[in-house]
């Protein structure tokens, strides 16, 4: 059951810009077991998506993987050449993107976009590829799958398109799905449906999931473990239930407090004061110190290590204590 599937160690992604090199993520390490579902949460620009794209070696240029290792089922993806990467992408690790309106190619039919994925990884005929496509469209509960194959993306609604994208991710029976904000662009009513579907499918096919989102509500529904990222680093990591109930990092506590469900209706929503520092000028010490309520002198000068505390990893000098 607990077979290690993915082991990311000390990942560092650098963007050499004209104004100087920017380190988008640094020292990111985590592990994922076969069939396990983890969530990466944080604000925009915290490095969640870059972490996800780094796993598939798809960081947008000019960014590059400066150091670290990504071991997936015995293969070091950080060292893999382009050809090996291609065989892994969309085959053993699939991705689901944020906006289903933008992810499907507008001039190709759904069928073409599904079949090509199978044909790129399997030595089968077009007819067999079509059969697999229909089967997966049924798995994501798309009605009249056969006719959908001949339709173009613009003939489908946003929710339908995201189902198609999920079906594409499942085509090759991957071991891991990386979902980058899969419900952010959808209606709230559809969000729940899609999440439930994703959860069911991961359970059914024993697929590992990395769910990237800024929505703690979404993560708590689907994942078993959470990584909280801030300014390019992991600052808290632990089981979903324990983090939601007892957040130890002041930032995580702030995030949970900012959920609309945590506010009495009619009152102002809670928020964390200030904004996340730009990656180009991260303050000394703890990157969160100028927004933190519990700040002490040492926070301004010394960066806290990601240290283990009661089944939890946390990077804070003064984690919140619970009795």
């Amino acid at each position: 059951m607990d077979k290690l599937l993915l082991s990311v160690k000390n990942l560092e992604v650098v963007f050499p810009l004209r104004t100087g090199a920017v380190t988008a993520i640094r020292d990111v390490s985590f592990e994922l077991n076969q069939g396990e579902r983890i969530g990466i949460v944080g604000e925009s620009g915290a490095g969640k998506s870059i972490t996800a794209f780094a796993i598939l070696n798809l960081i947008s240029k000019p960014g590059y993987l400066a150091s670290g290792s990504i071991e997936f089922d015995g293969i070091d993806l950080a060292e893999a050449d382009e050809d090996l990467m291609r065989q892994i992408r969309g085959n053993r690790i699939s991705m689901i993107f944020q906006d289903p309106m933008m992810t499907l190619n507008p001039v190709l039919t759904i069928g073409t976009q599904m079949e090509e994925t199978i044909l790129a990884h399997r030595d089968t005929s077009r007819d067999d590829a079509r059969k697999i496509a229909i089967e997966k469209l049924k798995a994501v509960q798309i009605p009249s799958a056969e006719t959908r194959l001949d339709q173009y993306p613009h003939e489908l609604s946003g929710g339908m398109r995201q189902r198609v994208v999920i079906a594409i991710a499942l085509l090759t029976d991957p071991q891991l799905i990386v979902a980058d904000e899969p419900t952010t662009a959808l209606d709230v009513t559809i969000q729940a449906e899609i999440l439930e579907l994703l959860l069911d499918l991961c359970n059914e096919f024993d697929v590992g999931l990395i769910l990237i989102t800024h929505d703690l509500g979404v993560v708590s529904q689907v994942t078993q473990r959470i990584l909280v990222m801030y300014a390019g680093r992991i600052i808290e990591q632990g089981s979903t239930s324990s983090i939601i109930e007892n957040p130890m990092h002041p930032y995580t506590k702030g995030l949970i407090g900012a959920l609309p469900e945590m506010t009495t209706p009619g009152e102002k929503l809670n928020q964390i004061p200030g904004v996340m520092p730009s990656l180009q000028d991260i303050p000394s010490g703890c990157p969160f110190h100028n927004r933190c309520r519990y700040i002490q002198d040492v926070c301004r000068s010394r960066l806290p290590d990601l240290a283990k505390r009661e089944e939890r990893l946390i990077a804070c000098h003064f984690p919140i204590q619970y009795d």
């Binding site: 598939l56 798809l58 947008s60 291609r86 065989q87 892994i88 992408r89 969309g90 085959n91 699939s94 991705m95 993107f97 944020q98 906006d99 933008m102 992810t103 499907l104 190619n105 507008p106 001039v107 190709l108 039919t109 090509e116 994925t117 790129a120 990884h121 173009y152 613009h154 994208v165 594409i168």
Partner: protein, 324 residues
């Protein structure tokens, strides 16, 4: 499809009406045709009689109505200089111009796609940089200068290619005189077609490159990478098909503009096409021929644009050619 064609045809008729009105209205602005038609010795009385006879004294709308009535019957007036129907004169010259446009289109189709796509995929490659630099030069240097330069280099200095004329021609279907099927004709066509392409080709290269670069940044291309497709499929199917849409639209218009550019090319190379004929007609104040030329060129524009719209509808699934 049928409804689309009918609607498109209706639009084309309106456009042609406007073009004919504009072309015909310059008739009065080009000076007195009588001065070109008759000598100095003819008296004012006879001139007036002639004017009356030719209907030049009628009100403008009456003249235009008469012109229109004749035009729909295929009579665009009689050339003063050639003393033949203007349409016949143009039809004699049209094949030469079409040869030239086909030649230039050949260069454009041959080079614009590979160079444009390559420059988009490998923007930092030395070849892309050279191609972009050369294309700027091509766009900036006027056609006639390129033409003169080509003549100087290949005809005068090296003596490899002829500097003017069409060379040997063959008759197709007893009517269409073309130089595309003789070696001598092709030799004559080489320099004129290159100079005609020298402005449009770089434009296409740059357009394909910039559109393609934009498409390569889209989410669906990133998703195609994430699906683990082969890079050739991502470039040629996912990215290029989307690049084509704007290129077809703009390209169709450019093809029409190319017909206009033939005036310069044909003049420099003494190419006996309708562009060269048009310039001569202006010098001779051969009004009916000028008007007829403008109308025919307008017609070519309208036809190419209609064809482009239909092709666009076939490539872009979001456009339904149903007339809805």
């Amino acid at each position: 499809m049928f409804a689309f064609l009918v609607r498109r045809l209706g639009q084309a008729v309106i456009v042609m009406l406007v073009i004919s009105l504009l072309s015909f209205s310059i008739q009065d602005q080009l000076g007195d045709p009588l001065r070109e038609l008759v000598g100095q010795s003819v008296s004012e009385e006879i001139r007036n009689e002639l004017r009356e006879e030719m209907g030049l004294n009628d009100p403008f709308m009456v003249q235009y109505g008469r012109f229109l009535k004749n035009a729909v019957q295929g009579d665009l007036g009689t050339s003063y200089f050639f003393k033949r129907p203007a349409l016949d004169v143009i039809m004699d010259k049209l094949p030469a111009t079409i040869d030239l446009v086909i030649g230039a289109t050949f260069w454009i189709l041959l080079f614009s796609v590979p160079v444009g796509v390559f420059a988009a995929i490998r923007p930092h490659h030395w070849f892309s940089k050279v191609a972009m630099g050369v294309s700027i030069v091509g766009i900036s240097v006027p056609v006639f200068l390129t033409a003169i330069f080509l003549i100087y280099l290949f005809a005068v200095e090296l003596g490899w290619l002829p500097s003017y004329g069409r060379g040997d021609t063959v008759m197709l279907l007893g009517r269409w005189k073309t130089s595309l099927f003789t070696l001598d004709g092709l030799k004559h066509l080489l320099l004129p077609s290159i100079s005609l392409a020298s402005v449009i080709l770089p434009l296409f290269v740059r357009m394909i490159r910039s559109e393609m670069m934009e498409v390569l940044e889209t989410e669906y291309v990133k998703f195609a990478w994430a699906k683990g497709l082969h890079k050739r499929r991502i470039w040629m199917i996912h990215a290029f098909k989307n690049t084509l849409l704007p290129v077809i639209t703009v390209g169709g218009v450019q093809l029409g503009i190319m017909v206009a550019y033939t005036i310069l090319t044909e003049t420099v190379f003494q190419w006996p096409g309708m562009g060269f004929m048009f310039l001569e007609a202006i010098n001779r104040v051969d009004t009916p021929l000028i008007v007829a030329y403008l109308i025919i060129v307008g017609l070519i524009f309208v036809i190419t644009n209609t064809v482009v719209d239909i092709i666009y509808g076939m490539v872009n699934p979001m456009v339904k050619i149903t007339g809805q």
